[in-house]
Symmetry: C2
Subunit: 362 residues, 2 copies
């Protein structure tokens, strides 16, 4: 039943058990070449009999393809966006016959570089990465990748031509701003998650993630379209860390004429608004309005529901995998830049000031 020797049975054991040569056994099991139906059957039986399982490492080494893709995600796959992205990538990979080796860059370019290297050393057939913020991304260039295909998601690294799958955060944000303006909001707050910033600041840090830049541009053009002057906009850049973002929200709320609505560039920032508003007994959707990027279960379930710019995460993951797989089998494709549409889901976190005018709160 088990192998004769202590370790796992190999194809040699199968061949012996079936009374054929190694080559025939291999042919029968991988059904290629010419094998008579009877021997093939005999081999398959023998394989099951002795509990043979192919060693995928040996197979990978021989055929030069591991059936594995590497995923380098950022720290927060605790975040409502990246956890879903991870899941959809893992699932999509499986449906394409691939397994995924996952690594976490902690949003640190050096860790990312190392992770890519490690994954490459493990002979992944391709990589999906959420690039960390940095100016130099040479480790994502073809020579560094040894020709292995790469798809980046969520953000586009500076100065690197790659296949990317991102979302149209620009128009989503723009539309969200216009919506708020149409509800009578004239003083806009914008809480932007930024890396490399300690605490919070009013000065725009450089560089910024492309996804954040998109949101910033969308915000700007939305405000312009709604005729809201720059002096009625309060932009605050904050470290993505609860204490810092809560301080940033407090700062906004403490201004003489605070914004009536705060847009946040991600869920962590939105949570900070919720927290600070709660502490101050400010009711969301009445005393202060809130819009954030990325939908989540809690944003839909709480009262009031949070208005969000929703991004098609599952689709993003699936597309990233299918593009990668396609490049694996046909490496000479031109790079693609795929941008998925976003959608504003209006819930109750944005007060209608035309019905219920804004009241000063103390």
């Amino acid at each position: 039943m088990a192998a004769t020797r202590g370790s796992a049975p190999t194809i040699v054991d199968v061949a012996a058990a079936a009374g054929v040569s190694l080559a025939t056994a291999s042919r029968a099991l991988s059904n290629y070449g010419r094998v008579s139906a009877v021997t093939a059957e005999r081999v398959r039986r023998a394989a099951i009999e002795i509990g043979y399982r192919p060693n995928e490492l040996a197979r990978a080494m021989r055929v030069g393809s591991s059936g594995t893709i590497g995923l380098v995600i950022i720290a927060d796959f605790t975040n409502a966006f990246f956890d879903r992205a991870t899941k959809s990538i893992v699932d999509a990979a499986k449906s394409h016959g691939y397994q995924v080796l996952i690594s976490n860059s902690d949003e640190d370019i050096e860790v990312e570089r190392l992770a890519v290297q490690t994954l490459l050393d493990k002979q992944v057939d391709g990589l999906i990465v959420v690039p960390s913020l940095a100016r130099a991304h040479d480790h994502l260039l073809p020579p560094a990748l040894g020709g292995k295909p790469l798809v980046v998601i969520d953000r586009i690294p500076d100065g690197v031509a790659v296949t990317s799958v991102t979302t149209d955060d620009r128009s989503g944000t723009e539309q969200a701003v216009r919506n708020a303006a149409s509800l009578g909001h004239e003083r806009l707050g914008f809480l932007v998650s930024a890396f490399g910033v300690h605490g919070h600041t009013l000065e725009r840090p450089e560089p910024m993630l492309s996804s954040v830049t998109e949101r910033v541009e969308g915000f700007t053009s939305g405000a312009r379209a709604a005729g809201i002057a720059k002096r009625n906009q309060l932009w605050v850049y904050s470290e993505d860390e609860p204490r810092a973002s809560e301080a940033a929200v407090s700062y906004m709320l403490d201004r003489p004429k605070p914004p009536t609505v705060i847009f946040t560039s991600n869920n962590d920032m939105a949570l900070a608004v919720l927290k600070v508003a709660g502490n101050r007994r400010l009711v969301i959707g009445r005393d202060i309005s809130l819009v954030t990027v990325d939908d989540s279960q809690w944003a839909a379930a709480i009262v009031p529901g949070i208005t969000v710019v929703a991004r098609p995460v599952e689709q993003l993951g699936e597309l990233a995998v299918s593009r990668l797989v396609s490049r694996i089998s046909n490496p000479d494709q031109p790079d693609e830049t795929i941008v998925l549409p976003t959608e504003v889901i209006a819930r109750e976190s944005v007060a209608n000031l035309k019905v219920l005018p804004y009241r000063e709160v103390d």
Copy 2:
């Protein structure tokens, strides 16, 4: 600079470039055996020069260890518990020098079986699995694992002796119930996530996940300790799916004498309570109270904050990895059953009925 041939440089290329034999090159790079300092240096230089990177697959095959562990997680690693567990496992694995191959069982035993097999075929050195609900777990038995070590987390499969890392949900739940009782709650609702149930039911399904059983037992003993009769407890088992759990909540709330507090066995169920309460204009922590298992960022940020039974997820992940790694290097250790303590974090979602008596709502 690059390899002479088209493909990646191998150790043979390094040897040639350094003018030494294959063996010496290997010794120098893996620093073992005897190599003179000068040759060693020359080899290392040559390696860097030609951009050599060891092929970890070949190495794995030779040494019989891949440096990879497999993680079989359930569907919902979108869930606030499993996403954090995944992250801590990935991080802990890296710190032990391992990479993780991740797979998703979708809470389906057949998928789990297949995932384990696939991972084993890829020669993982060990496995961490969140076992799906089932009676038969033969694929988690040593013979099926080919001797590879296994650590299960969160739940313990029936009839399988394994090393497990779980949390003490029993005492956490018990304490949560006693807390609520001490605040004057006398009618308790318990919304239990159950698999294999369609919609919701009042009858206890069999089998249940060990983690859920623990919570059920904790609830029972907490209620007993508080002297709350069974007739003042409303237990509802629901499919883990929004529509079903929301219907279950509605059912509870529609009873002639509805519970004053609802305990939910996980976050998805808690979200359902939030949703239904919101639709009915019921205020959490006043009109209806809520306690759930598993802390999350949103539970802490929203108003009112949700009282939770918090589990030490990060620690659980780290421990699972360290136990697994230890078993990999020393396979003959006896199985361990590690149970981590839980903690009730009291926030404002449980009304103090001794101060603010319960009012009937219509």
